[in-house]
């Protein structure tokens, strides 16, 4: 979907062709957020029961509070705002997102937010926040997935959604491999009730 980036209507149509249950619209770069917010504030007709927005994680300027303020402009139909822990320095600023704030566990390349212990500090500071469990990131940190299991054991009650894919050698999200599907199944069976967001095409 990289080639459709910024064409929100096209992205929505592509997602709906896969599933009408859930969508996560990603403003990965900060400059994309105003356009996405404008699109959503027009209240476009969409079939999804669950709408999430991935907050910017690239091209960030230094104004963290301004970034959070911009996210508060997202309309109420946006159920979850998914945030990378390494973009959160001023935790107090993020509390304004309340229960819409959803924190994603990170891969091994990131400096924080990888393990249950690291996430615990964030959830202590932001008790209303939810969890986006990125199972490929969990494997990247601990190929045995024991670390991923620990995240679910500790924060299962906060789980709002799953990110599902495999990762290539460079850490990019790619199609779920057969090996990963088998490896992930026991943990995914604990996540049957929440939306699974595919971060790469299934086929």
């Amino acid at each position: 979907m990289v080639e459709q980036r910024g064409d929100w209507e096209e992205l929505v149509a592509s997602s709906a062709a896969v599933s009408t249950l859930a969508i996560e619209l990603s403003a990965l770069s900060q400059e994309e957020l105003p356009d996405l917010t404008t699109f959503l504030l027009r209240d476009p007709s969409m079939p999804f029961h669950y709408v999430g927005v991935h907050a910017p994680s690239k091209g960030l300027n230094g104004d963290e509070r301004g970034r959070v303020r911009a996210l508060t402009e997202l309309p109420a139909r946006v159920r979850s705002i998914i945030v990378h822990p390494d973009t959160m320095k001023d935790l107090d600023a993020w509390s304004v997102l309340g229960r819409r704030l959803v924190i994603e566990n990170m891969d091994a390349r990131r400096p924080s937010g990888q393990t249950a212990d690291q996430l615990a500090g964030l959830f202590d500071a932001l008790p209303l926040a939810g969890l986006c469990f990125d199972i490929a990131h969990a494997k990247h940190v601990d190929p045995s997935l024991e670390g991923g299991r620990a995240i679910l054991d500790r924060f299962s009650d906060r789980l709002r959604q799953v990110h599902l894919s495999s990762l290539d050698e460079d850490g990019h999200h790619v199609r779920l491999t057969d090996e990963d599907e088998e490896l992930f199944t026991p943990l995914l069976e604990r996540c049957r009730d929440v939306p699974w967001i595919l971060e790469a095409p299934l086929r």
Binding site: H49, A76, R99, D157, R158, C191, D193
Partner: protein, 343 residues
């Protein structure tokens, strides 16, 4: 196939406390509400004990009293239930007056539809099932007697509930199949609530001041009530028909949240149950907050979509849906749920 057997079915008494104690943390607002309900029930029982009741009469509480979810703002949905016909008996009217001394004062009056706050004949609940004479009022009373009722005075509540259950279970029930007659009536009740919700909207010219509050309850407490009846009925597929009355009586003697907690455990849907009760706990927390209730009551059909509170209640409702869908359709219960709950 569901690999479980009848031996796995257990009495759900205190199922919620057990679930939260084992798989917590969380649920403190649900537990607070239970403690508050127990205290208030004790007070009411003490007051009602000062009067005398005919031996065929009982005072029954419905709604949040029976769900153990009482808040300061809850209605007192009560009735004097007669194991027979109430008619215009003077002794029954005296029990109604006794109950009015302790229940429904101030803004805690039962709803304006006159379903509660009066005498009810068990005979009518049992004899008028289906067809025109089974009015919405009769259906509502019967369904709630089964699904969420608790005795505040007297001793015939259990017998009356058993009589209603027998009405459904006395014929046509097969071993290891959910009792279809009972199932259909509980599903009918749930769908009737939904349809009547729209009827009330129409009757107020689209300007129903209680639209948002009713909608919020449909998404939460009412849905939990329905699911708490549906699941035990579906679980009857593990039982011979001779075991169903005792099993259903035990289930219906506990609140819906106990029944669902036991089901999440039975079907090994622990994580989903944890999230389900976290969401429901938040709903109870909201209902315990007078300011939140006032805000909810101030919202209208037109203004709800711009409300953060209503957005959160929608999210709670979705979380409850997701947990129940996982329980019903992603566990071994799915085979019977697909066959009996859908078709």
């Amino acid at each position: 196939m569901d690999p479980r057997s009848a031996a796995a079915l257990s009495d759900p008494k205190d199922g919620l406390e057990s679930f939260l104690g084992t798989y917590g943390p969380g649920g403190e607002h649900l537990l607070d509400a239970r403690a508050h309900t127990a205290r208030r029930l004790q007070e009411v029982r003490k007051g009602l004990a000062e009067g005398s009741l005919p031996s065929d009469t009982t005072v029954v509480l419905f709604g949040s009293w029976a769900r153990k979810e009482l808040t300061r703002a809850s209605d007192d949905d009560w009735a004097v239930l007669v194991d027979g016909t109430a008619g215009d008996r003077a002794d029954v009217q005296q029990v109604v007056e006794l109950a009015e001394n302790y229940l429904g004062y101030g803004n805690r009056k039962p709803g304006v539809q006159e379903i509660f706050g009066k005498a009810i004949s068990c005979d009518e609940l049992v004899d008028r099932v289906g067809l025109d004479e089974d009015t919405n009022t009769n259906l509502t009373r019967r369904a709630l007697l089964l699904l969420e009722s608790v005795e505040a005075a007297g001793s015939v509540h259990g017998r009356c509930r058993r009589r209603v259950l027998e009405r459904y279970l006395n014929y046509g029930v097969k071993d290891f199949r959910p009792p279809r007659f009972l199932l259909n009536d509980i599903v009918r009740y749930w769908r009737t609530i939904g349809v009547d919700f729209e009827g009330k909207h129409r009757d107020t010219g689209g300007d129903d001041p209680k639209w948002v509050e009713r909608n919020a309850k449909l998404r939460t407490a009412r849905k939990v009530l329905f699911a708490g009846g549906l699941v035990p009925i579906l679980q009857c597929h593990l039982l011979a028909k001779s075991d169903m009355p005792r099993y259903l009586e035990a289930q219906l003697s506990s609140p819906p949240t106990d029944r669902l907690a036991a089901a999440f455990v039975l079907y090994d849907a622990i994580d989903e149950g944890v999230r389900f009760f976290r969401a429901y706990d938040r709903w109870i927390e909201l209902m315990q907050d007078d300011e939140v209730r006032a805000e909810l009551q101030s919202l209208s059909f037109e203004s709800r979509d711009s409300s953060d509170l209503f957005a959160e209640i929608r999210a709670i409702g979705e979380a409850l849906d997701q947990g129940l869908i996982a329980l019903l359709f992603d566990t071994p219960l799915s085979q019977v749920a697909r066959k009996y709950a859908v078709l």
